[in-house]
Subunit: 365 residues, 2 copies
């Protein structure tokens, strides 16, 4: 299947949807993207597995990285793409997450021979699966020089707004201990499920902060997302485990966030407990207070009418955060339709995102 | 394998242990017990599946039922039986639960041709498995006339004391509802796990009653014995289910006990919940205030030095309770060793239980 990077961008998005690329099966789409990029003489192209990278080398003062994943969640009778009856919506697997964003990037990668900044374009694989297989992570290990830059844009769906940075997330298991006993003689035991009551009360009463980072407001949350306890219907349980998810503003490092969670648990009034972190993912600062990003914010705000806002869900922008590169999410499509069977994207948003990005990338420095 | 019902009772217990009889595999032991009972001309014998029943027909004023199960939990390299080095403990699967008790009953069934009361002896199968398969329950359905009587003794291990009646037990699932949301935007949801906090606090503070029934004290208990909640590590849970086990004194019917539990849950301050009963088992009154049982209590107390006490765990005496027959547990062996790999029973308790029971069953009315 061939791609035409010079086609109208919504048509290019349709072509990308029509190449199935469920995670782990991205070779056909990577081949097509690589072929399209290699038609542009101003780009140096690199293939790494089923990721394709391209970059300019114009000795500009700054370099911007633009990245999007090529894989999708499994297809649900929604490939090939279709168009809504009124011609305003592109419908199909990946329309929103995130082949419309890929189309914007691929179209501009080939079109912009003389951008204001040096540009690095990354089309990667394995984003919709476990983090250890993530293509962007693999690139960071195999080709760290290709991830050098001053600002990064991830083309995840944001309805065409800028969603800056992302909150961090961590999970911890709090294990409350008791003493098992036959439930007919319950006073001989210590009920661990009853023992978690004060922790649940503490979490229910927890007043999550809203933290301003680089001008954007990150609303936090600390929640029990899992609980388990009980051995049998006639046994006083000797253990109850609560899984807590803390979504923290990128003002805090992972270590700081761990301390904040530990402080809450330690002050909950539990009698016998321990805490184990099971998942740690840093946030990313948005960097929108950097002069480099100012023009971008202006261009997008003018086009979309939506001010930049904080990204609360965790995305791969955090991988740039770890490298010290401020990063934002920016792409066409309603993120609430990601992974939905009726995934779709307004054609107008695809056009608008391309136009806003083109304007910024070619404005005078 | 043959049994010698005229052997010393601890030797008969050893013989019973040496016939493996894990639940569902009781035909060999039932055959042997049936053969032993049929040697006694004063007994009418009935075989029902792998249960064996025998009874006198002496036109006595009262009839006492004595019942014990023949099956055991799975063997753990503890069959055949062994004797402790000092000769005081019989060791093996079922030594405690409850072939020592079976031996006492089988020995007396054959020996007592002229008891003070008419006697019905029941050796039954499938006690250690789900209640619907229980052999005593099957006999109640197939041969209700064989379960007519004025007082019942179940030979479960009680260290040779009388443990009267039993507490009832019921289980209920309390389901607290919430509203699911992505945990990065937790304020859009309602956390069902946080929502059970007030219920756990109520249960932790619950002041269980001690209720006197027929002169024995039944200490109650109301406990969470299970809890589950959570969909995924990034989702605010929309449901949390707490399983509560209420052990109630036989002063209350099942319906009354249900009402008592519902009252506690309804006053816990939950916001959105429902309650489903998953298990209901009535208690049994001990009937020790009946003149019929007075001599029994005196004989056992004199022999064991232990006063009659309430049975708190649920046992098959409740099946007699349902038939309106007061019932007690009485047998050799420490109940805490039931099902243990090192299950054993003191020889002296086996002898003492037989002697106390023989004394009562032959005393002048």
């Amino acid at each position: 299947m061939e791609l035409d990077p010079h086609a109208p961008v919504a048509e290019l998005a349709r072509q990308l949807i029509d190449i199935p690329s469920v995670s782990g099966d991205e070779s056909a789409i990577a081949d097509a993207v690589e072929a399209a990029l290699r038609t542009a003489p101003h780009l140096e192209v690199l293939r790494d597995g089923n990721a394709v990278l391209a970059r300019t080398a114009l000795d500009r003062a700054h370099r911007v990285i633009l990245a999007g994943h090529l894989d999708t969640v499994p297809i649900k009778a929604n490939v090939p793409a279709t168009m809504s009856a009124d011609g305003t919506e592109l419908i199909g697997r990946g329309a929103c997450d995130m082949k419309a964003g890929d189309a914007v990037f691929l179209s501009l990668a080939v079109a912009l021979a003389e951008p204001t900044y040096d540009l690095t374009w990354i089309f990667y694989d394995l984003e919709e699966v476990e983090a250890t297989r993530n293509g962007l992570g693999r690139i960071a290990r195999n080709h760290p020089a290709w991830l050098e830059g001053d600002f990064a844009i991830l083309g995840e769906p944001t309805s065409g707004a800028i969603e800056g940075g992302c909150s961090g997330t961590l999970r911890a298991e709090v294990r409350v201990a008791g003493v098992a006993a036959h439930s007919a003689r319950s006073w001989k035991g210590v009920n661990a499920i009853h023992g978690v009551g004060p922790l649940l009360a503490t979490l229910a009463a927890y007043n999550a902060e809203t933290v301003t980072v680089d001008g954007l407001e990150y609303r936090e949350g600390m929640n029990a997302v899992g609980i388990r306890g009980g051995i049998a219907g006639n046994v006083i349980p000797d253990e109850c485990v609560v899984t807590i998810n803390y979504r923290f503003a990128p003002a805090w490092s992972v270590a700081e966030a761990q301390d904040r969670l530990k402080h809450v648990v330690a002050n909950a009034g539990l009698s016998s407990w321990d805490l184990t972190f099971t998942d740690l993912a840093p946030g990313a600062r948005p960097g929108l207070d950097d002069p480099l990003a100012e023009g971008f914010v202006q261009a997008v705000t003018a086009a979309s009418g939506m001010p930049a806002r904080a990204k609360l869900g965790w995305t791969d922008v955090a991988r740039f955060g770890e490298l010290g590169i401020p990063a934002v999410n920016f792409g066409p499509g309603n993120p609430e339709l990601a992974h939905a069977d009726n995934e779709s994207c307004p054609v107008s948003e695809i056009d608008q995102c391309r136009a806003a990005l083109a304007a910024w990338l070619t404005e005078e420095d």
